[in-house]
């Protein structure tokens, strides 16, 4: 019996398996790097083109009228975006919470499944289709208005808020509900005074995520609220208002570079808002989940 040749170096099949393993690891790392690189390129190219055109006037003035597109700012679009998203939130937040309470606390299992499925399907409907829908039921008869745009955004937000709320309601420990019931508190009081308050943080961060999402919506607003007509600040939701997204879209295909640089600046503002709010909401949500032990 001779001693087997002992080597620490893998050979043959094992060597090949290790090489494949390393190769796949490198590919995975490369893919992750690519995604981060694309994010960096988008953020840097918007930042470098947009930040230069930012000044106080950009936030506090309206588009200059006449033949000088360089002057002025996008106050009207900022006001419009705030109005559109604000009203949409006022509509979608209470409705979304009610739907979630029904689905997770009160509904018989079968109805809950139907409602949940409807929410998920609504979530998958292309936003442009929702735009057409609101156009036919509202704008065709009453004309364009920010309210119509807000309703479209609310339809987009509702399933997002309802699903996020449902998720945190399920994270609220049953022991809290049971303790409340054991004290003889009725079911609705338990829901309103025990379950919802302890889920409130999660509900609000879910809503913030939904706000970040619809603040960037353009397609459903195209036919509902004004596109490229008014450029004065106005806060009446019954008037057609502009939004930052519509301004980016309509300035982006203007030949005059002054408009393009304004589109970049508006894109920069919007991107900062969206990225900052969604990141903050995600961090808060992660901490909240940990707190409830989900």
């Amino acid at each position: 019996m001779s001693e087997p040749a002992f080597t620490l170096k893998a050979t043959g099949r094992l060597r090949r398996r290790q090489l494949v393993n390393q190769g796949m690891g490198a590919l995975a790392a490369g893919a992750a790097l690519l995604a981060v690189a694309v994010l960096a390129i988008v953020v840097i190219s918007v930042g470098s083109r947009g930040a230069g055109s930012l000044n106080l006037a950009f936030f506090t003035q309206n588009q200059a009228q006449g033949f000088n597109p360089k002057g002025g700012g996008v106050l009207f679009a900022i006001v419009g975006s705030v109005m559109l998203v604000g009203i949409a939130t006022l509509i979608a937040l209470p409705l979304g919470v009610l739907v979630a309470v029904y689905v997770s606390e009160l509904a018989p299992p079968r109805l809950a499944r139907v409602a949940r499925m409807a929410l998920d399907i609504s979530n998958g409907i292309p936003t442009i289709v929702i735009g057409i829908f609101v156009f036919t039921i509202l704008v065709a008869a009453h004309g364009q208005s920010a309210l119509a745009g807000s309703i479209a955004l609310a339809i987009i937000m509702l399933p997002l808020i309802a699903r996020a709320t449902e998720e945190v309601l399920l994270l609220v420990p049953s022991s809290q509900r049971e303790a409340s019931l054991a004290l003889g508190v009725s079911r609705w009081r338990t829901t309103v005074q025990v379950v919802i308050p302890s889920a409130l943080g999660g509900i609000l961060t879910g809503t913030t995520l939904a706000i970040a999402r619809v603040a960037g919506e353009t397609a459903p607003l195209l036919f509902l609220t004004s596109l490229g007509t008014s450029s004065t600040a106005d806060a009446n939701p019954l008037h057609p208002l502009q939004s930052l997204t519509l301004v980016i879209f309509s300035y982006s295909d203007q030949a005059d570079p002054a408009y393009q640089s304004k589109a970049w600046a508006a894109a920069f503002i919007l991107m900062c808002f969206v990225l900052f709010t969604s990141l903050a909401a995600k961090l808060a949500l992660a901490r909240y989940r940990k707190k409830l032990g989900g």
């Binding site: 494949v20 995604a35 399907i121 036919t136 009725s186 894109a267 969604s278």
Partner: protein, 333 residues
């Protein structure tokens, strides 16, 4: 004593109204959410009736879109939608799975959360901003670098021939890929995280390399979920209007070349609905929206059915809770 009993009596009455009232209000809200879904379908079908009467199902197989002669068909738009979405999801899926693997298996622990957040930030960028970037930054790169390169290396294929242009199918595919990758990656990442550690450890203990563990354990365990994630990403790509409208070139016609201009269902609706000159054109655009709705419903319901088996636990918990309520005689059922 007297006062307290009054309080208790009113409180009891409030509670008697409160339970059914809460149930009724929340039910109404849920019913509204379901109704809106039905109403959307109803209004779209109603709005497309004119075009349906005129063109019937032949609308789907006709290539023309001619506002002057009032003849409309969806085929080239369906083709554009299919090519851009399918190729985007085909590029995005392996990338997204690779990213998810890196984030759950390979990346050093402290980096994971940060990288995951960065990938999700990519999903948060509004589509109109990606469109703007697509026209003014990606477009010139596609025209001056990518298309000449593809043409010189793969030009023997019909897909990579023709005049170079910053706008067109190729740019749209790249933009859609950027939009879809983070969606599929973040769902896939959650799926991998839910695979029980014993399975991983078992494979590794048997001497599998990490990649063999991934291929033999992780991917099969997550497979139905990954299909669902891909379906959701595909639905998103099909429904994207703005970014595609801005970069695809808005032209009717079916071309083999990826360098050619084209158009998709969603982009055509976004581009023409405001300027539509006749009722028939408007109705044809709503017809397109109906087709879009049908596709996205099919994709989404398919995805739901795939995810369903994963979604059991919360329900069981809720039923247990319902029983607890009923045991107290408090259920309003």
């Amino acid at each position: 004593m007297d006062k307290k009993s009054v309080l208790e009596r009113t409180r009891g009455r409030l509670d008697r109204i409160g339970d059914p009232a809460l149930k009724a209000i929340t039910f109404a809200a849920a019913a509204l959410a379901v109704t809106v879904l039905g109403l959307i379908a109803f209004e779209l079908v109603r709005g497309s009736r004119l075009a349906f009467h005129r063109f019937g199902l032949g609308f789907v197989t006709s290539q023309t879109w001619d506002a002057i002669h009032n003849h409309f068909g969806a085929l080239s738009l369906i083709f554009g939608t299919a090519v851009t979405s399918i190729l985007a999801i085909a590029i995005a899926t392996p990338l997204a799975i690779a990213i998810a693997l890196f984030l759950t298996e390979l990346a050093p622990k402290p980096v994971r959360a940060l990288l995951g957040a960065l990938v999700e930030m990519l999903a948060a960028i509004p589509s109109v901003i990606l469109g703007l970037w697509g026209i003014l930054v990606l477009g010139p790169f596609v025209q001056n670098q990518l298309e000449p390169f593809l043409n010189s290396t793969l030009g023997f294929l019909p897909f990579f021939r023709g005049p170079h242009s910053g706008t067109g199918i190729l740019t749209a595919i790249l933009i859609l890929t950027i939009m879809v990758v983070p969606i599929v990656a973040s769902v896939t990442r959650e799926l991998f995280a839910t695979v029980p550690p014993e399975l991983r450890e078992g494979a590794l203990a048997l001497g599998a390399t990490r990649w063999e563990m991934v291929r033999g354990v992780l991917l099969p365990a997550a497979r139905p979920g990954i299909f669902a994630a891909v379906a959701l990403g595909f639905g998103r790509a099909v429904g994207e209007a703005m970014a595609v409208l801005m970069v695809i070139g808005s032209q009717i016609g079916i071309h083999l070349s990826l360098f050619a201009h084209s158009d998709t269902l969603a982009a055509r609706i976004a581009g023409q609905y405001n300027g539509s000159s006749t009722n028939l054109q408007t109705s044809s655009l709503v017809y397109l929206a109906t087709i879009l709705l049908v596709i996205s419903l099919a994709v989404n319901i398919g995805a739901q059915l795939l995810i369903k088996p994963i979604d059991r636990r919360p329900r069981r918990r809720r039923i247990a809770l319902d029983r607890a309520f009923e045991a107290q005689g408090l259920s309003a059922d």
